[in-house]
Symmetry: D3
Subunit: 236 residues, 6 copies
Amino acid sequence: MTSEASDENKLIETLSGVTTATLTTILLKKGLRNVWLRGARPLNPGQPRIVGRAFTLRFVPAREDLATPESWSSPTSTRAAIEAMPEGCIAVVDAMGVTDAGIFGDILCARMHKRGVAALVTDGVVRDVAGVRATGLPVWCNGVAAPPSVAGLTFVNWQEPIACGGVAVYPGDMIVIDEDGAVLIPASLVEDVAALAPEQERLEGWIMGEVEAGVPLPGLYPPNAENKARYEASKK
Amino acid sequence: MTSEASDENKLIETLSGVTTATLTTILLKKGLRNVWLRGARPLNPGQPRIVGRAFTLRFVPAREDLATPESWSSPTSTRAAIEAMPEGCIAVVDAMGVTDAGIFGDILCARMHKRGVAALVTDGVVRDVAGVRATGLPVWCNGVAAPPSVAGLTFVNWQEPIACGGVAVYPGDMIVIDEDGAVLIPASLVEDVAALAPEQERLEGWIMGEVEAGVPLPGLYPPNAENKARYEASKK
Amino acid sequence: MTSEASDENKLIETLSGVTTATLTTILLKKGLRNVWLRGARPLNPGQPRIVGRAFTLRFVPAREDLATPESWSSPTSTRAAIEAMPEGCIAVVDAMGVTDAGIFGDILCARMHKRGVAALVTDGVVRDVAGVRATGLPVWCNGVAAPPSVAGLTFVNWQEPIACGGVAVYPGDMIVIDEDGAVLIPASLVEDVAALAPEQERLEGWIMGEVEAGVPLPGLYPPNAENKARYEASKK
Amino acid sequence: MTSEASDENKLIETLSGVTTATLTTILLKKGLRNVWLRGARPLNPGQPRIVGRAFTLRFVPAREDLATPESWSSPTSTRAAIEAMPEGCIAVVDAMGVTDAGIFGDILCARMHKRGVAALVTDGVVRDVAGVRATGLPVWCNGVAAPPSVAGLTFVNWQEPIACGGVAVYPGDMIVIDEDGAVLIPASLVEDVAALAPEQERLEGWIMGEVEAGVPLPGLYPPNAENKARYEASKK
Amino acid sequence: MTSEASDENKLIETLSGVTTATLTTILLKKGLRNVWLRGARPLNPGQPRIVGRAFTLRFVPAREDLATPESWSSPTSTRAAIEAMPEGCIAVVDAMGVTDAGIFGDILCARMHKRGVAALVTDGVVRDVAGVRATGLPVWCNGVAAPPSVAGLTFVNWQEPIACGGVAVYPGDMIVIDEDGAVLIPASLVEDVAALAPEQERLEGWIMGEVEAGVPLPGLYPPNAENKARYEASKK
Amino acid sequence: MTSEASDENKLIETLSGVTTATLTTILLKKGLRNVWLRGARPLNPGQPRIVGRAFTLRFVPAREDLATPESWSSPTSTRAAIEAMPEGCIAVVDAMGVTDAGIFGDILCARMHKRGVAALVTDGVVRDVAGVRATGLPVWCNGVAAPPSVAGLTFVNWQEPIACGGVAVYPGDMIVIDEDGAVLIPASLVEDVAALAPEQERLEGWIMGEVEAGVPLPGLYPPNAENKARYEASKK
């Protein structure tokens, strides 16, 4: 394994232990309030947290001359996009929040799973949901609809900047998904965030213990000087 | 059984083996993109696919002089509509997408079940959901709300053309519902669609097998000439 | 126990036996159509019905100079509001229907549970949902989001009149929540409603028995004079 | 002129002198809060108030097999509906709030004007707006769009109960339109409202004079006993 | 005139010469992106820019037991609020974006004008629009509707923090309104912003002159070092 | 002038004489229902019809690390995009329907006008509207807002396929704009549409004359065989 790949693995391992709730608090302290992808909920309950780099796909609205079953054979089809996805990436799909046409069904999800794609995240919906579930691909989406993508959407391209759930996503941004949804960490901030996050998780764990012991919230969360000192003492 | 009834039963049996995802693809190839009823999701998980003819009901917004508890005793009430429903029909209710007044509660759903109604489909919501579940009536709806229909809706009539979930539904159109939602097949197209659907399902099954065997998507789905030939060969 | 506290307990006990569906019908007959809080759904299935007095909290939109992590230490923070909540109250939070910033996470919910708060009701969402579930606090909300409240909301104050899910809620109004959602009974009408509700539930139970016995709906629900007489006779 | 026609003319003349703002206040005092048609704004400024009986038309969503240019020649087309409109009626069109397909263009509006239709009111939009303006037909609508009705809507029928702008409109209800929009008076309440309205207008005129003279609002609007007495005295 | 009043007058005079577009750019550079009140458009064209301190009013949704014509005589009515407004203030009304009930009509607007209120700003609508125009009160609102406030809203109180058009407004914040809408300057930032704004207007005026002379945009707007130097030279 | 340029000029001249209403009818007959850009209304009244090729710009949502005043100096800024616009093009801007941040103000519009851009079309809004009007650039947009683009949007690139007002727009598609809004003609269909349109306008002109002469609509519009013959005769 190259040292670069090893660094990436460590980043992903670290971030896998941090809730998206904690990540958004850290990002807000850095001035980023808009990093949570609206409308992307886990299709299946009980999914563990998943972390990976964004591989983006982009749709625009359906136009009857472009959005046809024939377009599925085009060199810039969703099929070709899937073949370009690297192992471990998270496919992030800009469906413009359209909820009455499924971007992918069981066959495309099966192929993504086969290629080692870590998860699919979209502000749109999937179709043939029983089949999609059977593929084992983790999916965060905005629901389910029977119609094919071309009933409402025209596929444009992959690995472009996109809008997904009201957030700008660039190829290579880090995506973390858990039960609270999908959060983006800009590529340039990933290392910085990964360095801060575990300490924040530890602090919140200590605070929760205090709450369980009956300590009132003011002065505890966030901790004032006295409680900060108690926390520091507790770490020794 | 008359030959007509027997034909209808065969249609329903055939369509019961086809996903709504496949049906929407076939209908799109015939030029119909808008056949999926938005906002109608299964109230209970694990429901098998249900097929039946649409029996329509229509609401307009509540007007305080018309939408009253007294209206429940009117000759054109929802109660009278239910008594007119034939066995095996699917009640399709235009609630204009209103989600803060339940169109039916447990008592009306119990009576529908008693009369042999196959399912209830609406872009509105139901009330007294614990009771509705207990009746055993399959329900596809847009959620749950406590208030009675008259808090938000005035009942107008039954067996008229309606809008349900953004789709025009005429009495007698065929409705197919599964986990992907509710799809309408116009009455005039039912036989044609039922003739095409099983072959499409077989083809997609074969494609899924290929994907599982590691075949890339371009050229496979949809199949090019070579893969079409392989599929045809596989059928022998 | 004072006689006043004993009266309150009896009211709560009575209302705990009445569905929110029945309550909204009774309130509509008194001219109140708008008493159901839109967007407040139970976070966990199978929750029993909960009844309590409203303790209100109010948010306005986030302004970057006011909605900061530092504001969490302010004397009018959500933390201080929680410390003011009496045992048995239901916290009702006006989040203006914002669904992309969680009003509370696991630590605040744990403290509310510790203080004996009966439930949390909001037209907004919660964050750190796995942690919130673990606290045991019953929550009726509009979903889940990772970002902190300050990403989208500024906390203002507690025990003021609020809007929650399109309904005006005043401190001290009675709140009843079950699977159909959250219903408000104005403080001035609670005793009156509690007096009428059990009889309505009995009547509906008798009607359901008739439906199961095959009686058609017209004349039965609502009952005409003949069926009213049969019902009265059945009570003896 | 028959005595019935003369009565109708007197009603219309009386209501032509009353603002829709005053009418909604009177209707609210009778328990009707939902009588104002959302989304119907005057296409041209400076239109005088218009009063007439509702002649209703109903659309449902476009279905590609039904909503075609060929449907314009059907016996139940919008063309046939227009030929059935009596002189002096107000055409009220349920377009389900669709704003991206124009229900009528210049030719249909010209024919309505020719037939003596008093006005067109809709929660939808018109097309070919320059031409529509040239016809002289007063129009209250939700904007303008180039596409034909069949791009988004299927015409169903006329003189049925409809929903228009969130209000239930029945054929024969009275419609009053001015710069504040379109208000419905249920047919059964027209005479009663027409009897109360002029006095309310007179009172408000007197109050406005007091405001201009510098009288503070509390006790003046609505008037307390003292101000009521002053008003009564002023009438002599 | 006190020195404090004189300072306030100077602030208002300075800000009256700055577009709201320029103010939002300055505020964004200070980290405030959310200061423009959505839905508040000038009722009349050609209104000059107006500047004043916010006097806030707050509504919650209508509840039939509270939102009644009788409530207009309550000590906490809108009438009482208007009598508390100081000369020169801008009334900012939180109507929760409700557009189907008019918060004020001609009589209340006439009284506000009489009291020297500088303008009315709301995310709601007004009623009796012809009468409101006649009063001369400048109004920025979200449209027009005939029904009275109590058809959709319950008045709560005045001079509380409010949400208006998605922005948090506190009593005493500075409001600037022109054809681009209404912008809030937090009270604590007013002097700072007023100090920066005129220079920004001067710079943009110089840039516009360059554009008219045919200079391309890159390097000009925003100016690079060379163009900055040319601008500085031009000032001498 | 090259023959190609001359052909283009003829196309544009022909289409300048056809209403967008007529164009949408012709496109619908070819199977295209979705060609009208929602939310693009003329900023100024009385604008003549404008025709030109689409030059596209694309925004995604604001992210605080990308959408900054500094980004205005980037090589892929809106400034650079404007310098790439050819004379006579129509700039079509995908602002994702965002209405609370103005994509361009007076300076950028002045430069576009200077470069000979025929018009600006967007589903977003402009800022500094008084200044924009003064530039003389024709603008079709969704309103006006004071904040700068970076308050809500991140600029991505130009001459990519975009979504604008719910329609897929590719660089080089033909755009026609008049009082009914903006309509797209796919590049591949322009010649075909231009060949059909003038005859359709002539026919509708003849029908309007018949309506003015009192002919009823059924059989006239669309014309039956008899009226078609009368029309053909009228042309001689």
